[in-house]
């Protein structure tokens, strides 16, 4: 029977699209995508924007509604589908805000982590560990992230290749992760 269907599909050149089993995965989808949507919204609007959480909730609700009602036909991945909803909602929000605030300020990409006690404590802990890194790692983080020199500028200053700069930054991050686990 399966072979007959496959033959018919290839005969009529019918393109079938596989729909994901959404009903069973909604909880998993929310758990997976809520942090990603939150990250994207906070980066675009700034985490000090009081209504960023409302925007995230609206996006998640909208996505779930569309997934449940079958409006999502599986033509793209669920990730791309939620990304599209998120981008549109952010643009709508910025447009609305721009109308009420003539000169809406640009969000700070790295706001002070004081909104939640947990975030503040985490940032403090990271800072304490960073202080303990070897000088060569600290120096590269200082030049690259704190002074915001370009990768090429850092490479020139330290007399190493730009590729080596990235490798050293990645290794510093690995060391930090290791220290955080202890």
């Amino acid at each position: 029977m399966g072979e007959l269907v496959n033959d018919a599909q290839s005969f009529y050149n019918v393109r079938t699209v596989e729909r994901p089993n959404i009903e069973h995965d909604l909880d998993a989808i929310i758990a997976k995508y809520r942090p990603i949507v939150s990250f994207r919204v906070k980066k675009s609007l700034g985490s000090y924007t009081p209504d960023w959480e409302d925007v995230v909730n609206e996006i998640m609700l909208n996505a779930i509604e569309k997934l449940e009602s079958g409006k999502f036909r599986g033509e793209s991945s669920v990730g791309t589908f939620i990304y599209t909803i998120t981008s549109r909602r952010i643009i709508d929000h910025i447009r609305k805000k721009s109308k009420s605030l003539k000169y809406a300020p640009e969000p700070n990409p790295f706001p002070q982590p004081q909104e939640h006690v947990e975030n503040k404590e985490r940032a403090e802990m990271i800072a304490r560990h960073l202080e303990k890194l070897k000088p060569k790692y600290k120096e590269i983080l200082y030049l690259y992230y704190y002074k915001e020199l370009s990768r090429d500028e850092v490479a020139k200053k330290l007399d190493i290749s730009p590729r080596r700069v990235s490798e050293r930054v990645n290794y510093a991050q690995k060391l930090l992760k290791k220290m955080m686990k202890k």
Binding site: A127, K138, E139
Partner: protein, 210 residues
């Protein structure tokens, strides 16, 4: 472990240096790539801590940098005490005043037009109406060592340097001059050191048709 090709964009995305097109591509990517999102979130935590507490984390590096700057400053300017620097500055200012203020004022003013061309040469040239002028004369200057006379008709025709205050035009030049054509002559005076100290205005004359 295979690395995702988008991983290289994490820093540029977080530091906001990606083009709009690449930023959109990367955003769509991390909605679909949990590994990239995880790495980016960790990197973001680290950068946030660095931005927030950088002055504490890197205080030793900042001090070192400051010390290095002071050392370079000392190496460049530290060989003299501040009082010596002040004296040097005053001396330099005095030299400048003397060089550009006093010396030029003492020098003979230049250029100095002393030729009485309208009364003497201008008229005499105009008066020679039917022949080519042969003698050009100008007023002597006390501080002039030599004079240079130039005759041209748009292009240089002839010039001569002399210590006298007159020249006689050579015959071969006279023959070159055409009737009905406008010529002009000018004299420049030079000091013993070869410095231009005065120049006359250009006086035009015609060789009349015979």
């Amino acid at each position: 472990m295979t690395e995702c090709k988008f991983e290289d964009l994490i820093d540029e995305y977080l530091l906001n240096t990606l083009s709009e097109e690449k930023r959109n591509q990367f955003e769509e990517h991390y909605f679909n790539c949990p590994a990239c999102f995880q790495k980016m979130a960790e990197r973001d935590d680290m950068i946030t801590a660095i931005k927030w507490k950088g002055h504490e984390i890197f205080s030793d590096l900042m001090k070192e940098e400051q010390t290095r700057k002071v050392a370079v400053w000392d190496r460049l300017f530290g060989f003299m005490a501040p009082r010596q620097w002040a004296l040097t500055a005053v001396s330099a200012a005095l030299v400048l005043v003397v060089t550009f203020g006093v010396i030029p004022a003492l020098k003979t003013q230049s250029p100095q037009f002393t030729l009485d061309d309208h009364q003497t040469r201008g008229q005499s040239i105009t008066l020679i109406s039917d022949s080519i002028p042969s003698r050009f004369e100008w007023q002597k200057m006390e501080n002039a060592w030599e004079y240079k006379i130039e005759i041209d008709n748009h292009d240089p025709l002839w010039h001569k340097t002399t210590n006298n205050n007159f020249v006689i035009l050579p015959d071969e030049i006279k023959h070159k001059m055409k009737t009905g054509v406008a010529y002009s002559w000018q004299v420049k005076a030079f000091s013993r050191q070869g410095i231009l100290i005065a120049e006359s205005s250009k006086i035009q004359f015609f060789i009349p048709e015979k």
